[in-house]
Symmetry: D2
Subunit: 349 residues, 4 copies
């Protein structure tokens, strides 16, 4: 009953098998191996983007921060949601990699940027000419930190605003797979067809060991990315082991199957919680995470029985009145089982 995060799960057996299969003899290092080449080819196919350049790194923070660094100058503002991972969970990695960009925070329900709020934020920034930070880029997280999903049309609406101000668009897709299967569209529709220039395409949270692909739809930005990746210490020497994970992940739609499973588990969990008297959702359940409030007594029982998850926000306390509602973030992954969910729900009730 571990719902603390999708990164508390391990790697899918196919991913582990691919690592073993890749472990044969010598291979050129630093990404010059055939496996790495094959991954780029496969991602180009999946995204219908024959010109795209694909780079693998091991963490989502690296993928995001490096992407920002190639998309904006140090004096460019990064427009993102107030609860974006790049704002709240990366210890300032974007500021470090960009050499001091400012993140300008945009509001919106369920950690989705409201288009009106985005436009206002962009319009407000840089009006003072040289005295202000300039307009730099837009970063969209899909699925969001609140478990919500932007439909392609919603992404396109934000991108269009960005385009009007000549700003590039990044998508933090640490949970891209979950968003995609929820939205029921193609990878191309969710990204470059909707105006996305660079995608952080996550593998780690959805069954890989540690790999994210940065997909750069405009190849002109690629060489700079390569230099920044190396300079950031994110170029693996035994690169085949990043590639092997991604290869397995993309074979036979494994990535989609795992995300579908995780989303289904979240839907099941969400339904179960909503059936509990007094419980209610804090955010709609659209991807693989459930944000719900239910009585403190239920939390105590569940955690006492060994369930792991975070109260949300963090600074709530399990001490006190049993009937008070406390919110929880409950994340499902490829490894979550229906049995875990049933057990968890039984403790809540």
């Amino acid at each position: 009953m571990n719902f603390a995060s999708d990164n508390t799960s391990g790697a899918h057996p196919d991913v582990m098998a691919a690592l073993g299969a890749a472990n044969t003899g010598h291979m050129p290092s630093y990404g010059a191996d055939l496996l790495s080449d094959g991954v780029q080819t496969r991602i180009r196919e999946i995204f219908e983007a024959p010109e795209a350049r694909v780079y693998l790194v091991a963490t989502g923070t690296a993928a995001n921060a490096l992407s920002c660094a190639v998309l904006t100058q140090p004096w460019g503002a990064i427009f993102c949601h107030r609860n974006a991972h790049i704002e709240e969970d990366e210890c300032g990695a974007p500021e470090f990699y960009t050499n001091g960009s400012k993140l300008v925070l945009v509001d919106g329900a369920d950690a989705k940027m409201d288009p009106v709020a985005l436009e206002r934020a962009i319009a407000h920034t840089g009006r003072g000419g040289i005295h202000n930070v300039q307009r730099g880029m837009v970063s969209i997280t899909n699925a969001t930190e609140a478990g919500a999903v932007y439909a392609p049309a919603e992404v396109a609406a934000l991108s269009e605003i960005a385009r009007r101000f000549h700003l590039p668009v990044h998508m933090d897709g640490a949970r891209f797979s979950n968003a995609l299967v929820a939205a029921g569209c193609s990878p191309a529709e969710m990204t470059w067809k909707a105006g996305v220039d660079v995608l952080s395409f996550g593998g780690t949270k959805n069954g890989c060991m540690g790999v994210e692909a940065v997909v750069i739809f405009d190849p002109k930005r690629a060489w700079e990315f390569e230099l920044r990746r190396k300079r950031g210490g994110h170029l693996f020497s035994k690169h085949r082991f990043l590639a092997a994970q991604m290869q397995a992940y993309l074979t036979d739609d494994l990535w989609l199957k795992l995300a579908t499973h995780a989303n289904e588990m979240a839907a099941k969990l969400s339904s179960g919680i909503q059936a509990i008297p007094g419980a209610k959702l804090v955010h709609p359940t659209q991807a693989n995470a459930v944000f719900a409030a239910f009585p403190r007594g239920a939390h105590k029982r569940a955690q006492g029985a060994g369930a792991y998850y975070y109260l949300w926000p963090f600074d709530q306390s399990l001490e006190g009145d049993e009937n008070v509602q406390l919110a929880a973030r409950l994340v499902c992954s490829w490894a979550t089982t229906p049995e875990e969910i049933d057990a968890f729900l039984s403790h809540l009730r």
Copy 2:
């Protein structure tokens, strides 16, 4: 009739005279001259701070950004008001000098941080341990960008919150003199006695040519400041010419007299505007700037007659209905004359 900023005025004759007087023969460079030494001594006296270290730079942005860089690590948040100069008017200089700190924005009326909002912002930051930016420092602007003044007790209240979280406190005193004479307290009461660790003590906007003193009350931070100043290109070789300005500024209370004059001019302007039918203050007039709304027709007449000032916010338009109220920022300086104000008011009416 130029109310665009206090930096559109020139330098006071005493300051110019001091430059001439300092221009005699050879002197050691880089601040090793006697004039520079004398300035430190004088500022220590004025601030009753015999241990303080004093460094001169030529711009307010340099003073602020260097101060931030010695007070926080790159991963430390800088808590400041949403409209602080370091947030809105320095093109990201604090982010650049700190190597990527995040400015966390605090609300409050008249560009003064609300203590409750500050405490909430600090408490919210860094709760996630290693994943978030950490709590770094607090920066207070006095007088504020909206022309308001913190009393010493108000500064102390913010500092006490900072202290509770072990954070150092910076004061952006680009208009320190105006704040001080408005508050009617001593320099020590407004700064270290109220918990301020480092002060950007402005000269430029109040009658100097281009000089700001960074007053570091804790000498342990001084050597790092010196290195950062040099590395930032802000150490003058012919340093005597910074020192001479500051020396004249501090002689015979010139700095206080000029600030008193500027504040009086603002008070006169403020009264005059309030007497105009339909006009009203947007912020209280406490220092040397007036923020007031009055009919578009009056703006047209004044600007047509040669008055310079900014509509506030910038993106208002003089086109359209004459009766609609538009707000203005009108800044007085040591060089503003009663005659200018009378002429301006006559055009408004």
Copy 3:
């Protein structure tokens, strides 16, 4: 016959097995798992350093650059050999992570810093006070980029110079294991007993998939390291997979056995080459790499037969006179076999 680098080899089967074994169920992320804790405990034992703090990252560049960033300020010089990896092979990662430190280059045979040259370089730096970069830290690479090994006494001699100038000492131990078995001393003797403050302890080149341990002997520097690692995007969420590699590496002296093997293969290769008429070593063979010059004709035969390795320096050409000597870098690893070496030598002859 691949001698291009020790990173063209794969991972040792024990390492792969450990990854599989670690892939069971949920574990806390970001290093809070028991495996990660066990690795720290084991490294403390091996290094006889019960207070040491151990942090895992996936690349040697990350280990080195992060280590430099905690050991020196941006204005501090990093003293290292002219051919150090941090100078020549990391695309400026140390400059990036330190926010602009200057690498001051020290000469010495076989990529080992000459103590006299080091002392001269340190003494020369920072004499001009505020105008120059300051003395920051010393970084020693062991084994060196030229395949040579510092004995503990040699490390201690350099550290003593550093200590005299109050400078901390980093050891780039990407090939620490190879150096250690060559020197025949204990890990403690090679590091903290010889004055090393922080060690980049390499796993990747010696049989792991991608893991390096940063061993910080002074725990006061640990928290800053943690923040910098996170901010650099180098904190793995599924951290168990870094820990598992290192755990296997340290079990039953696997790390020492693999390094011993690699060094033996290099010795065999070195002997074989020296027996070829006209061939001679460019650097002594002390660890797992051979630097030797032999006739262009021999290079052509070997490379024609499928041998992979780098001419050294890079810009030599295989075109031209068969008898001219060209130097090569030939690196052996845990995976190099005696048969490969025999085959290679037969092609050379």
Copy 4:
């Protein structure tokens, strides 16, 4: 008898007069005044460069570091002489402003880069592709730190090498005026006609109070420069006072007259020293500085009589054998008088 530096002198009376003349009433701030505009126009004329963009800053370090930051990426090497000011005297400002460029040091007599050495350094850099820092830019100091002067043809020879590698060229002209009058060529011949892209055109050391003009011959780089200047805290609000200095400096060839005088004083000093038994030049005297060795006894007499200058290198001692030769750096300026030189020489003898 102060030969410590050309920055120990004050400002020329014409410069001071211009400051006074500029101090009349209100003027737009931040460089939007007519004086600033006039300076750009005048510099365009002087340099026969109608498209050039001209930016004023107050220190040479700012001019150089900002210029580097617009000419190279963080991963680009800056090729400069081992004794360049940007390498030895700016506390790492170029590394700070570029976010971590590496200065690659080139040898050559009299602090002039040897073209062969420059070409070798460039060719050597970046051969390893992504693993190394890339080739970034070339920076030429004229006059050099050793008082030597590059003729236009020598500048062109270095620029041509740079051009072959597609690298832009910066000239650190803190003593540009001295170099120009020594070379007897036009400003255009010394700069853009010889391949220079950006010039730091010094005023401070040659009679100004504190002003340097950055002349950007390719206007495409201008907007980035403006943003970096603001972000570095180097945009003056009362900008007229930078402009006024430069205006006076460029009026009636004052800049050339002052440099001619300084050079003549150095020539006189150089001749006088060479006439002393046992004295000899360390570098040829081509601009306004004399580098000469003469007996310790003569140093003692001169310094005892109140002469100020630096022993070169710094760590020589006046203690010991009277007959041992110690070298000195003796810098003349616009303010040096023939009488000072005669007095100094009389003490030496």
